[in-house]
């Protein structure tokens, strides 16, 4: 077996050290080594975006990188975004706007949407659709997903206004 490699990663704010086989994909490290099964494997061929996580603040497909490439990086998965009592505005948007049906694509969809809103807090519908081109949903249809992202953008803008009032 190829020599294992030591990696240090911060996942959802917690530092982890592991010896990993070079060919271990990041998505399997997250799901199997760390037990964070919120990140899904859909196509496993880099197309569907179900495995999307944030790597140093950027959305990436965790099935298309090795865990060793994430050494020294900070990763956020869907588990790190919000909690049942306090959902992230994008999670709340998917809830309120019925942005999911089976929910399989949802973690990746939400991570891609958060990435968009981090870069562009007030996207147009066309910009939302362009930003979600790498995330496939096979059951809801994209209409409500777009509405969910619009809901979140409005909600986050509202929060900014409130904070500015303080």
């Amino acid at each position: 077996m190829a020599d294992k490699v030591h990696i240090t990663v911060v996942v959802n704010g917690v530092e982890h050290h592991h010896e990993v086989e070079p060919r271990l994909l990041l998505v399997h490290y997250l799901r199997e080594t760390l037990g964070l099964t919120g990140t899904h494997v859909g196509c496993d061929t880099s197309q569907c975006g179900a495995c999307t996580v944030h790597l140093d603040g950027q959305a990436v497909k965790s099935c298309t990188m090795f865990a060793v490439q994430a050494d020294g990086c900070s990763i956020t998965t869907i588990e790190g975004l919000g909690s049942p009592g306090s959902l992230h505005p994008v999670q709340e948007g998917f809830w309120e706007m019925h942005g999911l049906q089976c929910g399989f694509c949802t973690p990746g969809m939400i991570m891609a949407a958060v990435d968009l809103l981090n870069k562009n807090p007030n996207p147009s519908e066309a910009e939302i659709r362009h930003a979600l081109e790498g995330n496939y949903c096979r059951c809801t249809g994209y209409h409500n997903i777009v509405r969910a992202v619009q809901y979140a953008a409005d909600k986050m803008a509202g929060k900014v206004a409130m904070a500015a009032d303080d």
């Binding site: 070079p22 061929t45 975006g49 999307t52 959305a59 990436v60």
Partner: protein, 278 residues
């Protein structure tokens, strides 16, 4: 899906990467991994070692040197898309990159990886030819520079020799030049069924196509037809006809040779109309 086993080496400089390539002649360089890793997962590639060059600082970023923009090979699409220098002096690149894959692909994929891989359906090779880019290549016996016109040599093959690394892409700044890229994306993968890049520099028109043939190529017939002529709708329409004969073009489930040849004319016209502001 698991790839075959491999040894993982991380290079911290170009010199170290060249040394590692000599120690592991069968190794492959790992850039953004967005062509290589999918191929390894499908076991179309099984290199015994990977040399990760994505973190080599000297290979990243865009800088200006006189009348040239120097782009490090490991600069990601996302960095190209948001580069103020490129937006100001070479807007063709951010425009072409906007249509590559999706945001996650653009976060990892690199210009050097795309050019070295030379996928016949890759977007950036057409822009390199239209701009007249130069490729800086480093290897065990030093550095050399290859013109874009000599760089793409076949399907998935380039002027890069074993043990060599593409380190920089040099883009000439063309003040006042107008440029545009028009792409017919594959309906599923978003890669280019046909993509045409044009650069209008004074009375010179430079144009190149990707997706049509084994590798990206200049559209010399179009360049000659428009040389010295004003870019009117009439002249553009007259020039964008029968640019490539279908015989040697690619064909697949999405597009026959004849349809691709037609798309070349249509995309060339779109790019020129956009560059001319029509």
């Amino acid at each position: 899906m698991y790839t075959a086993e491999f040894a993982y080496k991380k290079a911290t400089s170009v010199a170290e990467a060249i040394q590692l390539l000599q120690q592991h002649p069968e190794a492959k360089l790992l850039a953004g991994g967005h062509s290589l890793i999918p191929a390894m997962k499908l076991r179309l590639a099984a290199p015994p070692a990977l040399i990760d060059i994505s973190k080599v600082a000297e290979l990243r970023g865009v800088r200006r040197e006189g009348d040239t923009l120097v782009v490090g090979a490991m600069t990601t699409y996302r960095e190209l898309e948001t580069s103020d220098l490129l937006k100001a002096h070479c807007p063709l690149i951010p425009q072409a990159v906007y249509h590559i894959g999706d945001p996650m692909v653009r976060a990892k994929g690199t210009i050097g990886g795309s050019l070295a891989h030379a996928d016949p359906a890759a977007d950036l090779p057409a822009s390199m030819l239209a701009l007249g880019a130069k490729m800086k290549i480093q290897g065990p016996s030093g550095a050399r520079v290859v013109e874009a016109d000599q760089f793409f040599t076949g399907m998935f093959s380039t002027a890069l020799q074993e043990g060599e690394i593409l380190t920089e892409i040099h883009l000439p700044i063309r003040p006042g030049a107008r440029m545009a890229y028009a792409k017919f994306p594959h309906p599923a993968s978003r890669s280019a069924v046909v993509g045409v890049a044009v650069v209008v520099d004074g009375t010179e028109v430079r144009a190149a196509v990707t997706g049509a043939g084994e590798h990206a190529m200049r559209l010399t017939k179009l360049e000659q037809a428009l040389a010295g002529k004003p870019l009117t709708t009439e002249n553009i329409s007259a020039a964008c006809q029968g640019l490539l004969a279908p015989d040697h073009l690619n064909h697949d489930l999405v597009a026959s040779r004849e349809y691709r040849a037609h798309l070349v004319d249509v995309m060339a016209k779109r790019a020129l109309m956009q560059a001319a502001g029509l």
